[in-house]
């Protein structure tokens, strides 16, 4: 099966220029490779600064790729024009309020991607807008309203409708439910699941909420300081994580029915991306770190069916 999305050794380097200091580099993405298949949800998890949002920006062509290749449906991302892009990749944002123009009626906002493409007649666009709005559970009269008149859940439905209208091959969901209350969150998650079932949509699902990820994802990629450190099926990641960082994440998440183990709280914070540690970026917080980790960055390798970037994966269970 041809993947909807294929990333090969994707790199992003930001240059920090300053009048007063020597310029520096931030390597926001380092050798990121992954594939996303039709009808699949691949979750990207990791803490702030791990590169998950940079990845989304590169795929939306908001930022340029420094090196490496990205293909959507077999086509090179760089060969797609800004006008063509929405037919291939679209994005749902975290905060539906700030991503909608407060001066435009909802219907106009949803129609905008099609208007920009300029291939359909006004009537055809109108029809498509109503169709998409219904499919995300928005009543037609809402199309006449302005963003401030809508609830948070409705706004996120508008965000989804707008992304959906160009029938993209890949949908990037950047924390799509984090800003929503729990009762609304479950409605939006159900909607995403329904849409996937109907249209065989592929989701790149960026989230920090492991509860949501464990429910919605098929596969999970864990990122740390610009690299994928572990990639596997949901079951592999949640029940037999091999990378010490994945284990730390799982252990840190608050669960309802478990008493927290506050005796064994790992110390340390994310190192500065300007001065990442030599070798393995996680070694400064890792209980298994030794000299090898300081010398050589571990490659993402296959071990018992998962992809893991750790020298000590064999020792960790």
């Amino acid at each position: 099966m041809q993947p909807r999305l294929r990333l090969e050794n994707l790199e992003k380097v930001y240059e920090i220029k300053s009048l007063f200091k020597p310029s520096a580099e931030i390597r926001a993405l380092r050798g990121v490779s992954l594939e996303l298949f039709p009808g699949e949800t691949l979750a990207i998890v990791g803490e702030s600064g791990c590169g998950k949002s940079t990845l989304a920006k590169l795929l939306m062509k908001i930022e340029s790729i420094s090196s490496g290749r990205a293909q959507v449906d077999g086509k090179d991302l760089s060969s797609l024009s800004q006008k063509e892009l929405p037919q291939f990749v679209q994005m749902i944002f975290q905060d539906p309020y700030s991503s909608l123009n407060p001066r435009k009626r909802i219907g106009v906002s949803i129609a905008e991607p099609l208007v920009i493409q300029g291939q359909l007649t006004k009537e055809a666009i109108q029809k498509r807008v109503t169709e998409v709005a219904t499919s995300v559970g928005l009543r037609p009269e809402i199309l006449e309203r302005y963003p401030h008149m809508l609830s948070g859940g409705q706004r996120q439905r508008v965000g989804i409708a707008r992304a959906l209208i160009t029938a993209p091959r890949v949908m990037i969901c950047d924390e799509p439910v984090s800003a929503l209350d729990v009762s609304v969150q479950s409605q939006v998650i159900n909607l995403l699941l329904d849409l996937q079932k109907e249209t065989n949509m592929s989701y790149l699902f960026i989230s920090h909420d492991l509860g949501v990820v464990r429910f919605i994802a098929h596969r999970v990629a864990v990122m740390y300081l610009g690299r994928i450190v572990e990639l596997g099926t949901k079951e592999q990641i949640f029940t037999s994580a091999r990378h010490p960082y994945t284990q730390l994440l799982l252990k840190s998440s608050p669960y309802l029915h478990e008493t927290a183990d506050f005796e064994d709280v790992p110390t340390g914070e994310l190192p500065s991306p300007l001065k990442p540690p030599s070798g393995c970026a996680f070694r400064t917080r890792c209980p298994f770190a030794n000299e090898l980790c300081a010398e050589k960055a571990p490659d993402l390798r296959s071990y018992k069916g998962v992809h893991v970037a750790c020298h000590h994966a064999e020792k960790i269970s």
Binding site: S186, K197, F238, L249, P254, L270
Partner: protein, 330 residues
């Protein structure tokens, strides 16, 4: 009782008229106890915590109620009296540590300010106590941190500085309003563990406000669930999570995706249908009635009083509380 809130009702004056933000909120907090406020946006959990600290916006109107701190009503105190309690006996930390710290002053100055203001410490004592506080909240190399400015600190470190300021005068009550929401999970765990440790060591009571039921479940003795400005259920954390008696608490728990991870493919998450009522146009009877699957005729017409269930140590604002034995399946 260290802190007792009785029948607190607060309105906000807005351009669309007076909105009832809090209605008849009552709860108690004893010494050393941790109490969690849970609810969705607009439920009144932050308004309640701000009211205790007397930090409400100027358009807030007190309609009724008392806030008794060690038997004295905070609402009846003069500004000078309140000033003595605020920051000393009752301290507060907020969601976003980055915006709560003053960017133009050093860590030492900001912590020192609390110490001189409330405890009247001398200069050399201030330095000593500041260092002590910084190491108490787990900031590595406190000496080096004295002269740093907030922008040089990470989110987790800023929150530690905020906590150091809050506990500087050994407060009796610490109110933490979404203290870890802006932080990454690994740092969240560090901060929550720190709060737990300080609570035990300083015998401090904690009010933890959060939208995250997991955070509340793991870090509090008792839970108070709020909906549309009212307290709908109060009880021991474990009991409430395992056997919610108010339909809203039950709905909230059932919605959590984490509880359904073992369901087969194609499973749809349970939802609470409808939306939170507009506080300017409240339903007549139970506030949840329009969304409640168990509603009866009288729920829609009569305001619901709070029922006390002493055997279960539970208070529920519902005519038809769910059976306590009914467990939410994991």
């Amino acid at each position: 009782m260290l802190l007792e809130v009785r029948n607190l009702s607060i309105d906000f004056k807005t351009s669309r008229g007076q909105i009832q933000a809090l209605r008849d909120v009552s709860f108690q907090l004893s010494q050393g106890e941790s109490l969690g406020f849970v609810g969705e946006s607009g439920s009144g959990k932050s308004v309640t915590s701000l009211a205790i600290f007397d930090l409400l916006a100027s358009n807030a109107v007190l309609r009724s109620g008392e806030i008794l701190f060690q038997g004295r009503d905070i609402l009846k105190m003069s500004e000078a009296e309140k000033q003595k309690i605020r920051g000393k006996d009752i301290a507060m930390i907020f969601q976003d540590p980055m915006t709560s710290l003053n960017p133009s002053f050093t860590v030492e100055y900001q912590i020192g300010e609390v110490l001189t203001e409330h405890l009247g410490l001398e200069k050399h004592q201030v330095r000593e106590r500041t260092l002590e506080l910084l190491s108490l909240v787990g900031i590595p190399d406190p000496q080096a941190r004295l002269k740093t400015y907030p922008h040089e600190l990470s989110g987790g470190m800023s929150q530690r500085v905020m906590i150091a300021m809050a506990i500087a005068c050994n407060p009796k009550v610490l109110i933490a309003d979404e203290p870890t929401t802006a932080l990454d999970v690994t740092i969240q765990k560090q901060i929550l563990s720190l709060l737990g440790k300080l609570r035990r060591e300083l015998k401090m009571s904690l009010i933890l406000v959060s939208h995250d039921l997991g955070v509340i479940a793991q870090n509090t003795d008792r839970i108070m669930v709020m909906y549309a400005g009212e307290v709908v259920e109060t009880g021991e954390s474990k009991g409430v999570i395992q056997g919610p008696m108010h339909p809203y608490t039950e709905g909230l728990l059932k919605c959590l995706p984490a509880l359904h991870v073992h369901e087969p493919a194609g499973f749809r998450l349970p939802t609470i249908s409808g939306i939170v009522p507009n506080l300017a146009e409240r339903p007549q009877g139970c506030q949840l009635a329009p969304r409640c699957q168990y509603r009866q005729k009288n729920c829609e017409q009569v305001a619901v009083p709070t029922t006390e269930l002493p055997s279960q140590k539970r208070q529920v604002r519902c005519f038809y509380p769910l059976q306590a034995s009914k467990e939410i399946s994991t």
